[in-house]
Amino acid sequence: MKLNKTNLEKRLLKNKIFYETIKIFSYALLIPLALILFYIIKNGIAYLNLDFFIKMPAPVGETGGGALSAIIGSFLIVGLSGLIAIPLGMLIGVFLAEFKEHKINNLTRLAVETLQGIPSIIYGIVAYAWFVMPFGKFSGISASIALALMMLPMVAKATEESLKMIPYTLKEASYALGANYYTTIKKVILPSCQKGITSGVLIGISRILGETAPLLFTAFGNAFLNFNMAKPINALPLLIYNYASSPYQEWHQIAWASSLFLIIIVLGLSIISKNVIK
């Protein structure tokens, strides 16, 4: 064969180097991930015990204590956000998928996509302006609104995308049985989209559970146990942020444990949501 062998060897070598390089760069990211998880597990596991869930943070200088107020606060805030964002997001999603010809359909889609791209800190500012300034106090409700607004586009998009996958014949079949539009959507279409919507909701919840920036000037944090959503309230990400910047070893340990707990829930939710679709 007449072609230059040395040239070929050089090309094959180049190819080999290229392939190995991208492989190394790809797997190299396992290192920082492993380091992050390693430190969180190593430092968090010792304090992720029963006390963590049932005790309040210990005062400065004392060891032990838990994150009870933050755990309760997180669940209250995220729970209320879900109560607002899930039904409203689904309605918007159905509107986007079903009312294609409506004059504001495209505008609404644009609005949803714009909301989705807004930096999280800005949700905090807006919720502050809406609910903290007028009432003159930080509150769990204002935090829930901020997080609900963040979650809204995710639920709406997931609903719209799942609805788009439903074949038209299904709707026809429902109409043919004499069902009206409301019953068709409620009893036939939405149940068939259950997986897609559930997965979108779970992803949305796992996102807002870890959000911190929108809580800084809304929930604000609270050193005391509080169930009242009209008052300042603590949350896990807020606790991590506040304790991380504190100089106290004990607080760092609670922050590590909170990080571990938060990561388990957040990643757990996203794994569950992946498996829901399958």
């Binding site: 396992l30 999280s120 500012i125």
Partner: protein
């Protein structure tokens, strides 16, 4: 009886349709109110400081000096650096998954890796950065004989680069994967090695998609708040080197908004938010336009 039931369901039906349309309008109202709130609350700052806000390099709340320049520069500095650090990784993974591991099981490992990186809350990145990365940088700076701040642009960019890689890969691996088999086979049929196929065919073919992915990741870096706030050092000066502490638009808001009491201070911080929103929205729109053009083409 039967007619009665039909009438009630008919009413429910009408109400349902109205509710759906109402939800559509509500979305528009929310977004409008959202933007109005930002503009309205920036008004004081817009009026008193006007355009010089953008160019003033001084931010000293106690003397009433409010200039956005340190934060605009801090934001661009950290985000561009983060993007540059991330590119070798994001391109490698996109090519590795999209070209070499197309149908292989092994690609799950890397996709899970991306999911994990994307799923870790940013406050945890910040906490980890503060506890683990910053001490390492302090050691480095001590050896180099620089003031050992630890926190600063470098720490923020490193953490950010890790956080944004999954965003460019999501789109990147798909556009590489979408390069038609036809073209790949034609190139291989002409004697090209995989490297040559990627360099001459796959990358040129998917260039706009790769660009859009990285642009969106860049937008993500610009808007990231917590991780940056925790490791950037929160200093309101224009950073001169990657070792300097600084502040970004998002981090200065996170850092000062809770404590700000002077109306002009609050208003200026909200105007920073407005600037941040405008920059990220423009970036997102450009990215989406490219992606849309891309999906129509293929």
């Amino acid at each position: 009886m039967k007619i009665m039931i039909n009438l009630t369901t008919h009413k429910k039906n009408q109400l349902f349709i109205k509710t759906l349309k109402g939800a559509g309008y509500l979305t528009l109202i929310i977004l409008t109110l959202f933007l109005f709130t930002l503009i309205f609350n920036s008004f004081l700052s817009l009026k008193t400081i006007s355009l010089s806000f953008l160019f003033n390099t001084n931010w000293q709340p106690n003397t009433g000096n409010f200039g956005a320049a340190p934060f605009i520069i801090g934001t661009l500095f950290t985000s561009i650096l983060a993007l540059l650090i991330s590119i070798p990784f994001s391109l490698s993974i996109s090519i590795y998954i999209g070209y070499f591991l197309k149908n292989k099981k092994r690609k799950n490992t890397l996709e899970t890796l991306m999911d994990l990186l994307a799923g870790i809350p940013s406050v945890i990145y910040g906490f980890w950065g503060l506890m683990v990365l910053v001490p390492i940088i302090i050691k480095l700076q001590t050896t180099l004989g620089i003031i050992p701040y630890g926190v600063g642009i470098l720490a923020a960019s490193l953490i950010l680069s890790l956080m944004i890689i999954p965003y460019s890969v999501t789109l990147g691996k798909d556009v590489i994967n979408l390069v038609p088999t036809d073209l790949v086979e034609a190139a291989i049929g002409l004697g090209a090695t995989p490297y040559e196929v990627i360099k001459h065919i796959a990358i040129p073919y998917s260039l706009s998609g790769l660009f859009a992915g990285h642009l969106m990741a860049f937008g993500r870096a610009i808007s990231e708040t917590m991780a940056v706030t925790m490791v950037i050092g929160n200093r309101n000066f224009i950073p001169k080197s990657i070792m300097d502490p600084a502040n970004t638009l998002a981090s200065v808001i996170a850092n000062e908004f809770g404590e700000a009491s002077a109306p002009l201070h609050i208003s200026s911080l909200i105007e920073l938010g407005l600037i941040l929103l405008i920059i990220t929205t423009i970036i997102n729109i450009i990215g989406k336009i490219i992606v849309k053009a891309y999906t129509i083409e293929t």
